[in-house]
């Protein structure tokens, strides 16, 4: 079943076109990623789906219901967790959750049962009674996420859920997302971390300047738009010039990449022994060699002509 269907969605802020005729769908039970730099329209798109903003034109259907016309019904199906942690600092985690539960018309018993259940999954038991202003960023995010899924939404919308978290906390968070998917939720999340989208999402849509540039499974996108694999050779630093000259003689497609020399190739496994033999015979044994497969970052670069890191600055 299709959980979310977006058709021709456009959003104008005055003369600025924040979303430009966006269309896509998300299947039930899928983790779907919106990938793109800041300002690409991810947040606007998610806020329109969540009912926070109105579109200029286009339609949004959630489990077949028109999100714009049947807002109350649709809002019960959606759990929305925006970039901000959306918690009241003067209240405890528990008080924040109770407030959110009231917005969804939950009864007290159901609320307590659900808090018990979710605090197990999200690991929030130890700090739910503390004031939110006293909690760490990671703890706040967990409670905020808990608030978003308290009413057991069918479609969970997470806007940059791991921004600001350290790599370890981010990995913990992925576990949580998988746990929620296993619970039956369909998840639409946005991120600008390419490895996160790669690791977490069943399918991704890459966005730039209010448009979807491409959409598909991460592996498929990398295969189609990621270019070839790279073998990166790291010679001793003082010999990098000589090593570069030696490799150029072999007519390889070569680029400098930091302290290494990157060679584009369709068959990296075959190339590695050839490179080692060739360099060693000239007394230029490399310190290490890496094989790098195409990433979603390469996909973004190849499709937009700009590296994502540059766009993020």
């Amino acid at each position: 079943m299709i959980a979310l269907e977006v058709e021709g969605l456009t959003k104008m802020y005055g003369e600025v076109r924040a979303l430009d005729f966006i269309s896509f769908h998300v299947n039930e039970g899928e983790i779907f990623g919106l990938l793109g730099p800041n300002g690409s329209g991810k947040t606007t798109l998610m806020e329109i789906i969540a009912g926070v903003r109105a579109p200029t034109s286009g339609s949004v259907k959630v489990f077949g219901l028109d999100a714009l016309r049947e807002r109350e019904k649709v809002s019960r199906l959606i759990g929305f967790n925006p970039q901000e942690t959306m918690l009241y600092g003067d209240l405890s985690g528990w008080e924040n959750l109770r407030f959110v539960a009231s917005l969804y018309g939950m009864d007290d018993r159901e609320f307590r049962r659900r808090v018990e259940e979710l605090s197990e999954i999200l690991g929030t038991k130890g700090f739910l009674d503390k004031r939110v202003s006293k909690l760490s960023g990671g703890q706040r995010r967990r409670i905020s996420l808990m608030a978003s899924v308290l009413h057991s939404p069918h479609l969970l919308i997470l806007d940059e859920p791991t921004v600001g978290l350290d790599p370890e906390a981010r990995r913990d968070f992925w576990e949580v997302i998988w746990g929620l998917r296993d619970e039956g939720s369909t998840i639409l999340l946005s991120t600008h971390y390419m490895e996160e989208a790669d690791e977490l999402c069943d399918r991704v849509a890459i966005m730039d300047k209010g448009r979807i540039v491409t959409l598909g499974e991460p592996e498929e996108l990398k295969r189609r738009y990621g270019g070839t694999a790279k073998v990166i050779v790291y010679p001793r630093l003082r010999l990098i010039g000589e090593a570069e000259r030696a490799l150029r003689v072999m007519s390889l497609k070569l680029t400098r990449m930091g302290d290494g020399l990157a060679v584009d190739t369709e068959e990296p496994e075959e190339l590695v022994p050839v490179l080692i033999t060739s360099l060693s015979s000239r007394g230029l044994e490399p310190e290490r060699i890496e094989i790098r497969s195409p990433t979603l970052e390469d996909v973004f670069l190849n499709l937009t002509g700009r590296p994502l890191a540059e766009v993020m600055e």
Partner: protein
């Protein structure tokens, strides 16, 4: 039992309000500090002048005179038996003046002769002028009262016809004639104040009952209008308003919850401030149930205005700054601290359209001046009209 969004929105706003130390300072502690500062500077029920007294006469009239003087609340009399001790007391700066009632004061008065008082003041020219004016005023009033009583006695015992210059004068003509001699300039004791307090402003501050109005109106402006706007602006800044909008709770129930929370916060603030003001100043007030509609209309209007400011502002930060600035300005032009007559005409015209001015007028009318319905009807209509169009716009 189902959790009710209206109750929970109100509960959440109240918890946020009462847990924020800075909010509590500005809405509760600050107005109390203002009241304590200004009332102790300009008013209060304590005596303004301390006068050392030596009653050398000790007769009935001198006792009555001193008792009357002591009962004015303008003076505090300290009795001495020795003139030198009393002078020393004044020179030490512990009293503003020394009053000596000489021997024979009562006898002279009851014999129809002139009675004298000896009066010494401190060298401070302001104190000298003020305390002398005060005593002159009191002596004039006392003399007039004394003359009135003497005439009444005379009238009682005077025969109907009195021979004078070869013809008979009627008793009424003689009494009227005598009254014309003794027509004193009446000086009201209550109006005797220190020189710097003769202004209308000081009288405004000195009136303890008005401080109840100040406390109520201050909460309307700052707990009500500024508070409601700040809470909503804070939600927008925090992003929590997105969760509210994304939820199935209707906009009206969210608004109703905000209103309920705002009303509860306002009522609690008002109760705390009014009770503490009453305990501190013990003002004489004309309590009437008509205060309730005025306060409720004021509460609703102030909350409505606060929410409107946020709705109309380009962003929450601008809203918060705008409403605070407006709040600070409104408190000076709505009659809280200065009478409206002090304002230049254009500013007074502005003041007249501010709902808080009407609240101040109504509360002063009821509490201080003891007026009735006539002082409530216009303000309540004005406050209500400030509220309703705005709710429509907010929605």
């Amino acid at each position: 039992m189902k959790l009710n969004p209206i109750i929970e929105v109100a509960r959440k706003d109240m918890l946020s309000f009462f847990r924020s130390k800075s909010t509590l300072f500005w809405t509760l502690t600050f107005p109390l500090l203002m009241m304590l500062l200004f009332s102790s500077m300009f008013g209060g029920r304590g005596a303004m002048f301390t006068i050392a007294v030596v009653d050398q006469d000790g007769g009935n009239v001198s006792k009555a005179f001193l008792e009357d003087l002591n009962s004015t609340n303008v003076t505090r009399l300290v009795w001495f038996s020795s003139e030198s001790d009393a002078k020393e007391y004044v020179m030490d700066g512990r009293a503003d003046a020394l009053l000596i009632v000489p021997r024979g004061f009562s006898d002279n008065l009851t014999s129809g002769l002139t009675a004298e008082l000896r009066f010494y003041t401190s060298e401070d020219p302001q104190v000298r002028t003020a305390v002398t004016n005060m005593l002159n005023g009191f002596v004039d009033a006392f003399s007039e009262e004394y003359r009135a009583r003497a005439l009444a006695i005379l009238e009682e015992y005077m025969p109907p016809e009195i021979p004078a210059g070869g013809r008979n004068l009627s008793r009424d003509i003689v009494i009227s004639f005598l009254r014309s001699f003794g027509k004193p300039v009446r000086i009201r004791i209550a109006s005797i104040t220190k020189p710097e307090l003769t202004s209308e402003t000081a009288a405004y501050w000195k009136e303890e009952g008005h401080w109840i109005t100040v406390m109520l109106a201050y909460t309307l402006i700052f707990s009500g209008m500024v508070g409601a706007a700040s809470l909503l602006a804070y939600e927008k800044l925090l992003g929590t308003v997105k969760r509210l909008i994304a939820s199935p709770a209707s906009r009206w129930s969210l608004l109703a919850g905000k209103l309920l929370g705002g009303l509860a916060i306002l009522t609690l603030s008002q109760l705390i401030l009014v009770l503490l003001t009453i305990l501190w100043l013990r003002p004489e007030l004309n309590w009437t149930p008509l205060i309730i509609p005025v306060v409720i209309a004021g509460d609703l209007a102030s909350l409505g205005l606060g929410l409107l400011v946020v709705e109309l502002s380009p962003n929450p930060k601008a809203a918060s700054e705008a409403v605070t600035t407006v709040g600070i300005m409104i408190q000076f032009v709505s009659g809280l601290y200065f009478p409206l007559s002090f304002l230049p005409d254009p500013l007074r015209a502005v003041a007249e359209i501010i709902p808080f001015t009407w609240a101040v007028k109504a509360l002063d009318g009821l509490l201080v001046m003891g007026k009735g319905l006539e002082s409530v009807a216009a303000p309540v209509i004005s406050l209500a009209s400030a509220l309703f169009p705005r709710w429509a716009e907010v929605e």
